[in-house]
C-alpha cells in the first residue's frame, strides 16, 4: 500500500467519523424542530419520530405560544433577554477594567488579588446562595432583576481572561499615550478597549451562554411567574405527568434562536479570543 493510498484512507475514515459525530450533535435539534410542529397529544402517544408527517404537522403551536396563559412565554423571553443584556454589559465593563488593572500596574497586594481571583474560580458558587438569598430578603430585592445579576456583576473568570489578554498586548502604545498627556482612564478607554475587541467577543458569547442557561439562582430570586426566565418557565412547565408539549417544543426552538444569532455574529472573534486567552492559562 502506497503512502498516498494510506493517506486517502485515513482522510476518509477521520472525516467519516466526524460526520457521524456531527449527526449525533445535530440530531436533537432536528427532533426538536419536527416535534414543535406536532400536536402535544401526538408527542405523548408516540414520542419523537424520525420522519416529517405532513398530516399532523403545522405551525399552529407557534401561534399558541402567543395565547398560552396570556402569552406568558414571551414574558419569560423578555426577562431572559433583559437579564442577559444587563449581566453581559456589566461583566464586560467591570471585568475588563479589573483585568486590565491587574495586568498593567504594579501595586501592593496585587498578587493576593490575583490569587483570590484564581481561587474563586475553584469555589462552587452554589454554596453562597443561601446567605445571598437572606441578604436580598433584607434588602427587599427579592423578585428584582438586580438581585438576579448581583452575583455576576464582576465575574472572576472574566477578570482572569481579560488579564491574560492584556498581558499579551504591547505596553509601548500605552506609554506613548501617557507621554502625550493621556490620563490612566483615558488610556484604558481610548487605547486598550479598541485593542481588546477579540477578548470582548469571546466573553460576550460565554457570558450570554451562562446567563441564558442559568437556572438555580434566578429560580431562587424570582418568585413572580411573569418575571421567570425561559429555563425556569420551561422547568416549571415540565411535570412528571402530562406535559404541555404544544408549548415546550416551539418554546424550545425559539429559545435557541437569539443565542445562535449572537454566536454566528461573533464566531470568528470568539474562537480567536478564547484561544489567545486560554493557552497561557
Amino acid at each position: 500500500m502506497g503512502n498516498k493510498t494510506k493517506k486517502r484512507i485515513l482522510t476518509f475514515l477521520a472525516t467519516a467519523l466526524m460526520v457521524i459525530l456531527a449527526i449525533f450533535t445535530l440530531a436533537p435539534f432536528y427532533f426538536m424542530f419536527l416535534s414543535s410542529l406536532k400536536p402535544g397529544t401526538e408527542m405523548l402517544r408516540n414520542g419523537l419520530s424520525f420522519t416529517f408527517d405532513p398530516a399532523v404537522s403545522s405551525f399552529k403551536n407557534y401561534e399558541a405560544l402567543n395565547t398560552y396563559r396570556d402569552g406568558i412565554y414571551w414574558d419569560w423571553y423578555k426577562s431572559s433577554l433583559i437579564l442577559m443584556v444587563i449581566q453581559t454589559l456589566a461583566g464586560l465593563i467591570l471585568g475588563s477594567m479589573v483585568g486590565y488593572g491587574l495586568a498593567m500596574y504594579d501595586f501592593k497586594g496585587k498578587n493576593i488579588v490575583i490569587t483570590v481571583v484564581l481561587l474563586l474560580m475553584m469555589v462552587p458558587f452554589e454554596i453562597l446562595l443561601l446567605p445571598l438569598y437572606q441578604m436580598l430578603i433584607r434588602a427587599k430585592m427579592i423578585n428584582s432583576y438586580f438581585g438576579v445579576v448581583l452575583p455576576y456583576l464582576v465575574p472572576p473568570f472574566m477578570i482572569f481572561f481579560f488579564r491574560q489578554y492584556c498581558l499579551s498586548l504591547p505596553k509601548e502604545m500605552m506609554e506613548a499615550a501617557y507621554m502625550d498627556g493621556c490620563s490612566d482612564f483615558g488610556i484604558f478607554f481610548r487605547i486598550m478597549v479598541p485593542n481588546m475587541i477579540p477578548a470582548y467577543g469571546a466573553m460576550t458569547i460565554l457570558s450570554c451562554m451562562n446567563c441564558w442557561n442559568n437556572l438555580l439562582w434566578p429560580l431562587i430570586v424570582l418568585s413572580n411567574d411573569r418575571k421567570f426566565t425561559i429555563p425556569i418557565g420551561m422547568a416549571t412547565t415540565i411535570t412528571p405527568y402530562g406535559n404541555a408539549y404544544d408549548v415546550l417544543m416551539p418554546g424550545a426552538v425559539m429559545a435557541v434562536v437569539p443565542i445562535v444569532i449572537i454566536y454566528l455574529f461573533a464566531q470568528k472573534t470568539f474562537i480567536a479570543g478564547l484561544t489567545s486567552g486560554a493557552v497561557k492559562g
Partner: protein, 303 residues
C-alpha cells in the same frame, strides 16, 4: 542614562499611586459583598437553626450529624460522585480525542465540524433536556428503546434506574460540553511547535507514540484547566438533573448534592442544614481538585 531609568520606572505604573486601586475597586467591593461575607455566613449558618430572621439558635454540629444520618443525603452523595467521576473521565478524554483527530490534518472541513460541535453549548440545558427526556422516555417507541429493539433487547425505563439515569446525564453533558472542551484542547494543540512532531517522525514514532509523547505533554496546561472546571461542574451539577428528572426526583433518582441543598433550603426552609450541605460540597470540591492538581504536578513547576 538617568532619563531612561526614570522612564523605565514608569513602564508599568503610569499616573498616581491610587490609580490601580481604582481599577480593581469594583472587584474588591464585589468580592466582599458576594463572596467573603456570604462565605463566612454559610459557615456560621451551618451551626445554627434558623426559624426566621430573629429566631436563631446555635446548635453546634447537629446539622452535620443529622445530615449524615439522612438516607436521602447519602443517596445524593452517591448520585453526585457517580456522575462526577464519569463526567471527569468522559469529558476530558472524548473531546481530547476528537480535538486530536480534528487537528491531525486528515479531516476535511475541520473548521466546519468545530463550529457544529460547539452549537449544543448555546442551548439551555433545560431546553435540551426536554428532547433527551423524550428520546429516553418510557414508551416502547422512544428512540433509545427502538435502538435497544434493534439489538433484540427489551425496552427499559431509562430514567428510573440509577445507572441508566447516570448514563443519560453523562450523555446530555457530553452533548452540551464536548464542543467547548474541543475548542480549549485545539488551542493547546496548536501551541505545540510542529518541529516536535517532525523530530518524533524522524525518530520513527507512530501515531500513538506521537500522541503520548508529544501531544499529551503539550496540552497538559489546558488539560489541568479542563479537569479543574469539570470537577467543579460535576460535583455542583443541578440543572441537568432538573432537566431530566424535574424537581420532584421520584425515588430520589437523579437528585444531586445541590438538588438536595435546594430542597432542604427552600422546600423545607431549613437554611441551617442546607448551609451544612454547602460546606460539605465545598470540602469535597476543594479536596478532589487539590488531589488532582498535585497528581498532575501543577505545583511542581511553579515559577
Amino acid at each position: 542614562m538617568k532619563l531612561s531609568s526614570s522612564a523605565k520606572k514608569q513602564e508599568s505604573v503610569f499616573g498616581h499611586k491610587a490609580v490601580p486601586y481604582l481599577f480593581i475597586a469594583p472587584f474588591i467591593i464585589f468580592f466582599i459583598i458576594v463572596y467573603l461575607y456570604p462565605f463566612f455566613q454559610t459557615i456560621l449558618m451551618s451551626f445554627q437553626r434558623i426559624d426566621g430572621p430573629n429566631h436563631i439558635t446555635w446548635i453546634g454540629t447537629s446539622n452535620y450529624t443529622k445530615l449524615f444520618k439522612d438516607r436521602n443525603f447519602s443517596q445524593s452523595l452517591m448520585t453526585t460522585f457517580r456522575y462526577a467521576i464519569w463526567d471527569v473521565i468522559i469529558l476530558t478524554t472524548v473531546p481530547l480525542i476528537v480535538a486530536c483527530i480534528l487537528n491531525s490534518g486528515y479531516v476535511k472541513f475541520s473548521a466546519f465540524f468545530k463550529s457544529v460541535f460547539f452549537i449544543p453549548a448555546l442551548t439551555s440545558t433545560i431546553v435540551a433536556g426536554i428532547v433527551f427526556r423524550l428520546a429516553f422516555g418510557t414508551l416502547d417507541t422512544s428512540i433509545a428503546n427502538r435502538v435497544l429493539a434493534l439489538f433484540g433487547k427489551p425496552p427499559r425505563d431509562w430514567l428510573m434506574h440509577a445507572d441508566s439515569a447516570n448514563f443519560v446525564l453523562i450523555l446530555l453533558t457530553l452533548w452540551r460540553w464536548m464542543g467547548v472542551n474541543i475548542v480549549y484542547y485545539i488551542s493547546g494543540l496548536q501551541a505545540i511547535p510542529p518541529e516536535l512532531y517532525e523530530a518524533a517522525q524522524i525518530d520513527g514514532a507512530n501515531a500513538l507514540q506521537k500522541f503520548f509523547y508529544v501531544s499529551l505533554p503539550g496540552v497538559k496546561p489546558v488539560l489541568i484547566y479542563v479537569i479543574t472546571i469539570t470537577v467543579l461542574g460535576g460535583f455542583a451539577m443541578f440543572t441537568e438533573s432538573v432537566a431530566l428528572f424535574t424537581q420532584k426526583y421520584a425515588g430520589g433518582i437523579g437528585r444531586t448534592i445541590v438538588g438536595y441543598m435546594y430542597q432542604v433550603g427552600f422546600y423545607k426552609s431549613n437554611l441551617g442544614m442546607a448551609s451544612a450541605v454547602g460546606i460539605v460540597l465545598l470540602i469535597i470540591v476543594l479536596t478532589v481538585n487539590l488531589i488532582q492538581l498535585i497528581a498532575m504536578g501543577f505545583f511542581r513547576k511553579e515559577n
